[in-house]
Symmetry: C2
Subunit: 223 residues, 2 copies
């Protein structure tokens, strides 16, 4: 049974959804793709729990932010749930994304198959190296960073992936902000200062490794 | 002033440190490296706040889990704070890491300069493609996955980076677990089922993009 929101309404319009809930929606969507690929047409919350390590109760609570889902005795119709979660995450239509920085990591991201599967389309890549510009990498045209404003006016991307060196990150963000982009996936080892209204998700490999390293120490070496 | 821990002790031995605190320690360490590189020898918590977007109060609270830091009127001596945070994160000595999966992403990770800067050393890479094995990539020897147990017995890595396809992730983890590795940085688009005592940090590019996509919708399109 869906719960009412914190404001007592059952409207499907989310007011303030916790960030971990949004993160888990993507996990559910990924699970639904695999379940459909394995020939299933419906799933239960117990099913979700065993496949994703998210508890059945948490799954139902996460969905409850967005209205009523599932039918008693039937469970969740996969195609319907997929459609609704895709719509919530704005993934029911292709999302144009740009990549800034075509070093090793940027190039690897272009060949990452998961992006197109979830309807993220990298429509352009930008770099400061003139040797890289004017070419096409993995089907994506590469432009000079100085063409960012012009190309973005034409392509209207909503998300920018920053894969530039740490020292270049802030000025690259400032430039991307001028194009109207308000959502940033930041791989640069730098803390971006951003105006209100901008969403940044940071991916820091060294930070992830440092957290693991901490746990090795406390969990294993000391025991 | 350092606060006492939740248990009322000021012992430097952490009991239960919140995960976000551990994550921020890595951010502080990165900031300290930049501050030292710019010629500073001491910093203040206000300094940290302006550079990292973590409040001065949060910074002091995070440090308080680990004992007393800083001196009134002087602030924090950078070299001392670096040394202590490095030690907490077990980054004061080189951490041997292995990489499993040498596709585009794995190869990009090997050339990521941040790893060696923070004393993570990829000591071996493993792949199932015989054409990749027996070679050296970015100075890292590449072995067949079937040699994982043998090579890990020799190299004693504490952390494994999984950069394999989603469908191969669980069986690859199971194999890594047999080597004694209990810390996993998982790039595979899959939810790993792991025994107690194993720490997994998941990096999912599509999940990060999905969260951004969600915010574009609610923050921009609806307003």
């Amino acid at each position: 049974m869906p719960e009412t929101g914190v404001d007592g309404r059952t409207s499907p319009t989310p007011l303030r959804v916790p960030e971990p809930t949004v993160e888990r929606l993507s996990t559910y969507l990924q699970f639904l793709y695999s379940a459909a690929a394995s020939g299933l047409t419906t799933i239960s919350s117990a099913h979700v729990e065993s496949a994703t390590a998210v508890s059945a109760a948490q799954f139902r609570k996460d969905l409850s932010y967005f209205g009523e889902f599932g039918k008693p005795g039937v469970g969740y119709v996969i195609s319907e749930l997929q459609g609704r979660i895709s719509r919530i995450l704005q993934l029911h239509e292709t999302q144009p994304v740009i990549l800034i920085g075509l070093g090793n990591l940027g190039a690897a991201l272009l060949s990452y198959p998961g992006l197109t599967e979830q309807r993220f389309e990298v429509v352009a890549a930008f770099d400061i190296d003139p040797k890289k510009c004017g070419r096409t990498v993995q089907g994506v045209p590469v432009y000079a960073l100085s063409d960012l404003l012009t190309e973005c006016a034409r392509l209207n991307p909503r998300i920018a992936i920053l894969a530039v060196p740490g020292l270049a990150a802030q000025q690259t963000f400032d430039l991307a902000y001028q194009t109207g982009i308000r959502a940033i996936l930041n791989f640069a080892p730098a803390v971006l200062k951003v105006p209100a209204g901008v969403t940044v998700r940071n991916v820091s490999f060294t930070q992830e490794l440092a957290v693991l390293s901490y746990h090795i120490k406390t969990d294993q070496l000391d025991s």
